[in-house]
């Protein structure tokens, strides 16, 4: 609980969820650019429903996909998540059951993809995919390493995003802890607004005014 409380104060109250979401988007955009791919996406595992959720998308279909979900054992992403093994596949179209429904519902059926599990400590948090590299480029182990580096970064960002969400949940709660967290949040806000003035009494008054 202590850790959640610290997260709530340090991250949640500062609107971290949006920032970490932006970080995820930035990661898929860079991955897409570096691999000269048509699209890249990050899926977050929702353990409560056992589903994968599009958390960030760059490239084709990016506008409508974020938030969409599908069962966690679906297709390549599901396999990569469960097996913890990165996979690179060319000519996905030759696979008649390659989660075609999912692919078609996104309006984009790739010819090749790289998928890597997002692992943080002992947890599997999701999957990073890079779709349709240029077909003339032979895949190399150096690219696999690069993909692993991106995956590591994405896993850290996903972990932060999940912490932020947990922190938000604590804040939304009505418990004593939530009250303390809100108090800390207002205090932090006032401190920012009253930069230069360090009279603790004035600060406390302002906080009380806002809370009451």
């Amino acid at each position: 609980m202590n850790e959640d409380f610290r997260s709530a104060v340090a991250a949640g109250v500062l609107g971290a969820e949006a920032s970490y979401g932006a970080l995820l988007t930035s990661i898929v955009e860079v991955a897409r650019a570096i691999f000269r791919a048509k699209a890249s996406s990050i899926f977050l595992l929702d353990e409560a429903t056992d589903e994968l959720v599009f958390a960030a998308v760059a490239g084709e279909g990016s506008e409508s996909l974020v938030g969409r979900r599908f069962p966690s054992s679906t297709g390549i992403a599901g396999f990569v998540l469960v097996s913890r093994q990165p996979l690179v596949i060319e000519d996905v179209l030759e696979d008649p059951r390659f989660s075609r429904e999912t692919a078609e519902s996104t309006g984009f059926v790739p010819k090749g993809l790289m998928a890597v599990p997002l692992l943080h400590e002992e947890r599997a948090l999701g999957v990073l995919e890079v779709l349709d590299r240029p077909s003339d480029a032979r895949f190399t182990l150096a690219e696999m390493e690069l993909l692993g580096l991106f995956a590591n970064q994405a896993a850290i960002a996903l972990d932060l995003l999940q912490r932020a969400r947990r922190a938000q949940a604590v804040l939304a709660d009505e418990s004593e802890l939530a009250v303390l967290a809100r108090l800390a949040a207002v205090l932090e806000k006032r401190r920012e607004e009253a930069e230069g003035s360090d009279d603790p009494a004035l600060l406390l008054l302002a906080v009380l005014e806002e809370l009451l």
């Binding site: 469960v82 690179v88 596949i89 599990p117 002992e122 190399t140």
Partner: protein
């Protein structure tokens, strides 16, 4: 193997003959000695994965298709799994093994497909079942990061090792701890970039022990199809296939000896022939 009970922890002078090996070690070990003319005949391989598509042209006959699932506290073993391959990955691994050991017996044990939740426990139970069946080789192109399964997997890997079942497992190329490939009683496999399916290297800086072909490998996939795939997942069945060839020619080899043969015949060890 001798029928007489062997001394458990010691070897009295008069017992040396009792542990005489059925085959003399060749002065110089060549690939020709190791698997020349071998086809994998008589060797039973288990592919612990997403299932294997039966009658795939690159896989051929699948001896048995089993699925493992868990309901409550009960482990369910379906010995007539008709779901096939739920991803394509197991078929891919089986096709690589078949390409190297055309006459080996392949059994599919499906431990994937029921979603993410509980997948670690199913993996563990699948491996337990496979070890109990006494397969010669178990191909495991998957791993778990869950610490709570590490000790049980370790025990299973050791049990397999002492029962003459060679566990061949994919190494991770990411900075995480995962199992069972990190255990010394298994053969762990990473990828090299060459096209030769018989090129494999011993790694003097473990935990990854061998590197085999794992980049741009043509494999069987769903619906009788083929794909070009990359990953340690596909390097692993190369070593499993070669291990099967060796075992089909030298039935008596223990996992320790098999690993030694692989070491002595590795592309960076064997020297000129």
């Amino acid at each position: 193997m001798s029928e007489e009970p062997l001394p458990a922890w010691s070897l009295p002078a008069d017992a040396v003959e009792r542990i005489a090996l059925p085959e003399a070690w060749p002065g110089r070990l060549t690939r020709e000695w190791a698997w020349g003319e071998a086809t994998g005949e008589g060797v039973r391989i288990c592919v612990l994965d997403s299932g294997v598509e039966t009658d795939h042209p690159l896989v051929g006959e699948v001896q048995e298709s089993i699925s493992i699932s868990i309901e409550g506290d009960e482990v369910l073993v379906d010995r007539n799994d008709t779901a096939g391959d739920l991803c394509g990955h197991g078929t891919a691994c089986a096709s690589v093994i078949r390409s190297l050991a055309p006459q080996c017996e392949i059994t599919s044990v499906r431990v994937l497909g029921a979603g993410f939740t509980g997948s670690g426990a199913v993996l563990l139970e699948g491996l337990r079942w496979a070890v109990e069946q006494g397969f010669d080789v178990i191909n495991m192109s998957l791993s778990t990061t869950k610490q709570k399964f590490a000790n049980l997997l370790h025990e299973l890997a050791d049990t397999a090792y002492f029962r003459r079942t060679m566990l061949v497992a994919s190494a991770h190329n990411m900075p995480v701890e995962s199992y069972p490939w990190r255990f010394s009683s298994v053969i762990s496999v990473g990828s090299h970039e060459q096209e030769d399916p018989y090129a494999y290297y011993y790694n003097p800086t473990p935990p990854v022990e061998f590197f085999a072909r794992g980049v741009d490998v043509e494999v069987g996939w769903l619906g009788g199809g083929r794909l070009v795939c990359t990953g340690n997942s596909f390097a692993t069945p190369h070593i499993a296939g070669i291990a099967s060839l060796i075992l089909s020619k030298h039935r008596e080899l223990t996992p320790f000896q098999l690993k030694s043969v692989l070491y002595l015949t590795a592309s960076n060890v064997r020297g000129e022939e």
